[in-house]
Point group: D3
């Protein structure tokens, strides 16, 4: 159910029925020659839609701008500061809390947003006593990927416009993928990239981190469905949690 | 041309050809029983699309959250702070400037965003020497409206979910209008509403400011097309401007 | 009654008798060859004085610095940031609230301050539960002006060092007007000035927006007295308002 | 010469002749039964006027709100945050610098403003390469006071509404002093007041720190004139300083 | 070489010889019954000392306060905000840059500081053109740990007061370990802990995440020495990097 | 008792027994040829240790970075902004308050920190209703110094690497003093240094303000012990204070 296409009185009833709202968050960022700049937006939106069906939630309009420090110099990338992202997510969370939402789920399609979303969730934790906030970035994906990937991962945490992300797109949004342009690029990411600010142009000119030609819809389907299951499980767990008083001393 | 559906190398060429980018900005806000919460988003997006055709511009993904102070307590409204809106628009503008955009056009669908957008434009004026920023909220609309409206305006500046805005929707996005639910509500807006913080629940429970039943597609067409012409004219004027050194003393 | 010339114990009694405090806010800004830089300060102070007599209020010392973005490059102009103005007005409002003031009236003599004052009032709305804040910039002036002006208005909202403002000075503070230096300057304000940051040196070198030679004390008297009446009416209305709980959900 | 009563073109010439601008800064604060709340404003303005005559400077309109933490709970006191004061003074300094002023002198009438003014001066030191900023609070006063005071000082740094400050008023602004109401109050200021936040209501209910009845115009004249001489000397010294590059490493 | 025990002229020479400065950053945080609150400080300091010997660096005094959100409610924990940590590290980095340091190495002993340190490094990346910043948290530790740990890891990223951290202490600072108090606690960390703000009191009352009784000096030695080797390698790599212009467009 | 070397459960008991925590705050700053950069850190730590014994307090790890504006350009100096220092001290204070501490004592070894510490204490005064905060910088030192100093003071407030501070070090930490390098430097501090931002390189190249060769352990002992006595007295006084409601109006 798309939140923004409901009227004011309809949403009042909707919220009376379901206290869960999902915010997709993405980014505009270079994704190689075969994927559009808005890849993370497309993925976040489609994931949010599928998740909403399973947990009976309202889907908010996507926040399509994210923190894109690493690729900010690549053509087309648009970056916002961590603080800007934190602030807008906190504002949205407070409004939802006022509106009666009890569980605010953020479906994130862009790894670089992770820091800001976690921080926003903590800020809301203190500001809104009964609101629960969940931030999700393909939970369980790394483990699932090991079972289907045919080409090596270049980094523990990063995956970008590669076998995996392209597979996600082939499964969730094939109309935006141009496999004829897919390439294999296996840059050598220096170990120091985890220890010093390293814009990605230091090691790649394509923004593809792996072998996009190895992407397959089936791989995407496999991983995405595991991630969705994990998302549902996390949401159920959090709904059942009866947290202790948030600001107690021990 | 949708910016986010282009690839990185495509956008590089696009920008080489056109230096204009359009950002639609809207809001999620109560719009009475006949219009959806996302009315301002729908209008901003469709307007941006039409404008882009006429001025050969790239359309960015919409920023769908705005400053909704006045209606923040109505069911479904989501508000962000002025400062949050300023910050994210400034961030986007700086990225576009880095990317080679010379004219950053903001098509605003929500009056309440006006303050923040003007402030953001001024901040970018000082920060990005050669970037021009234009913010547009239905330019020339008030004058055009006088020619077609059949019911009185309740306020000099505000119009909301009324004969006018409903007509805009009937012209630009009729699939989101439920005229069967349209109502006429003529609240008495106190003079003091322009001089003291006045949440709209002080004078309306419907969020409709006027006679929505008088809305007609033709009225929307007339006003919107004049606004679009004015937008084009402003953009052309600004493109021809050769501004003096921005920070000179007199 | 000048707040600052009372002693501490006197003001305690004064506030017991009247819960209204008026803060004049102006600016230091170029006003052409016939008006001083402090024109907006002079007008705000004199207006505040007259208003205080009619509503039995205490007049605070003027805040003589304002947001002067548009004319900041003209000789003599001094500008402060919107945020600086917001902060100091919020601080003053909180102190007055602590002191027992129930109605904080801001008499503004400079259009450019409008954004910050409205924002400050909203911040105080949330911070001080029972404080009412009113911000006034010549209410009803545009309508009244139509009846007496002999030369055209150059802009819907701006008027500056022109037939109107000079008339205000001739009525309220003639000792600061040098009519021998008054000029007529009818610059062509571009339509885009409302849609892109436009420092006024783009269209004027005099800072006079109209025909100052047409100024007359009688015109000033007519408009000012209507504005004062409107001010009194707004204050009375706000005093009678029994607002609902400010932070309720709907 | 009052800056704000000059026109734009006059001030341009004035600044061509003198590059010095003086900003008086005061406060609205309880000053016992015999002095008005605006005592610090009155003193700062009159001192600034006298100083301007001696150093050929332009006098800006007074900033009449200051940081009044210690007496904020006394009837009539109005306090602004240190940061608010810093921000507005920095803004004013930057404008003056743009306008061609080379020496920005702040005449402070309220001890509590000292921290913010010093911080603002340092901020301007880095922001405006050639601007010099001087902040003055009765320089040399303590030493001069020892020669004329007949009653003991209650504290090394504080003096308030006492023999000294009342004498200053009797000399500079006798029309605001009501000696018939002057009292002697010798509270025991705890040693810890310099080491822990201590609002003055902890040790006084009058806000008078000493024997106001011992005030004499002659004492004020003696101290004020020494302070003025010191002010002139400091200004001359600073004007002659040829500072090294401000941001060099050693 | 301890930076703070050198004199000003000595350090000038030191920096002429070595352009590397190491800042240890830790935290004060509950570490179970057998380890002191300052465990992360002790580890960061000792690691920094060893690293300095190998890369010829100056060691700065430790910043002993960190971001301790997860354990903030446990007795003795002291937490500072991410923003406070970012600001102070950026300040220190700027000073070092002014002093001639070319490589600023941050040895972090507390996982919770990671977000702030990365953000500070990015801020310095933009602010200080030639400064390189490296932030290190036991690089390569997870891989090395697999070879020696005898008890299972409870979480992919967290380790705390457990077999590993206790082993680090037994190797680097045995005088602060009380093995007689060491316990085994294997709480069930919910999957949702990575997706929603989860203070650790939700799943542990001891703050020990694993089997501290399995700690051995040899295990610590093995892991620490691998981490140190990785630190040295990263530093060497970064020193050899010739980064392209930091702010170029692509 | 060193706070950070206690375990979580020990500190819980410690706090049950004593509600006092001491935070030493220092700086890294040029101190002439005979004293190390960390002189203020060494002094603050040793003072805190001695004080803790007398008032039965817990000693926190030192915050070794301070605001060093005046000497920031001297080799080795490291400066942090006032705001950074305020923020971290406020954070620490809030944590201590949560932990049950009732009296937060800050032993400051660096004059330049005074402004920030006072401001932090005021912020905590409003934020933590029952927490008392004391900031101490050698209380009573000036008076005591007059009895033992043999060489003149160069300034009312500043003393630096001179007869006094070197004596403090000879008494509290002789192992860090190199008297063979001690010098006498009697720069002429301009009167304007108290009225305009004046980096110390304007008047000294040694950073020694006086005659360090006149330093004697006995002088340090005399002054330090008086300061310590004053510290104890202030703490006892503050502990006995029963403050009125902090936020009352008068």
């Amino acid at each position: 159910m798309q939140y923004q296409y409901r009227t004011s009185s309809q949403i009042k009833e909707d919220i009376a029925g379901s206290k869960v709202a999902i915010l997709p968050v993405g980014a505009v960022e270079a994704h190689g020659p075969h994927l559009p700049l808005g890849t993370d937006n497309v993925l976040a939106e489609r994931l949010a839609g599928r998740l909403a069906e399973q947990v009976d939630a309202l889907v908010l309009p996507i926040l399509p701008y994210g923190q894109v420090w690493s690729l900010r110099h690549f053509p087309g990338s648009i970056t916002i500061r961590n603080q800007s992202l934190i602030d807008i997510v906190v504002d949205i969370g407070k409004s939802l809390y006022t509106q009666g939402i009890e569980l605010f789920v953020i479906v994130n399609g862009h790894l670089g947003n992770g820091t800001a979303l976690k921080e926003a969730a903590r800020e809301l934790y203190d500001a809104c006593p009964e609101l629960k906030v969940v931030y999700l970035f393909y939970p369980g994906m790394q483990k699932a990927a090991k079972k289907v990937r045919e080409t090596p991962a270049l980094h523990d945490a990063y995956f970008h416009a590669c076998e995996l992300e392209t597979s996600f797109m082939l499964y969730l949004a094939p109309e935006y993928v141009n496999m004829a342009q897919a390439i294999c690029d296996m840059p050598d990411i220096p170990v120091s990239a985890d220890a010093t600010p390293t814009p990605w142009e230091e090691f790649t000119s394509t923004a593809v981190l792996g072998d996009a030609t190895a992407a397959k819809e089936e791989k995407g389907e496999f991983i995405i469905n595991i991630s969705l299951k994990n998302m549902v499980r996390i949401i159920r767990d959090v709904q059942e949690l009866v947290p202790k008083d948030k600001n107690r001393s021990f």
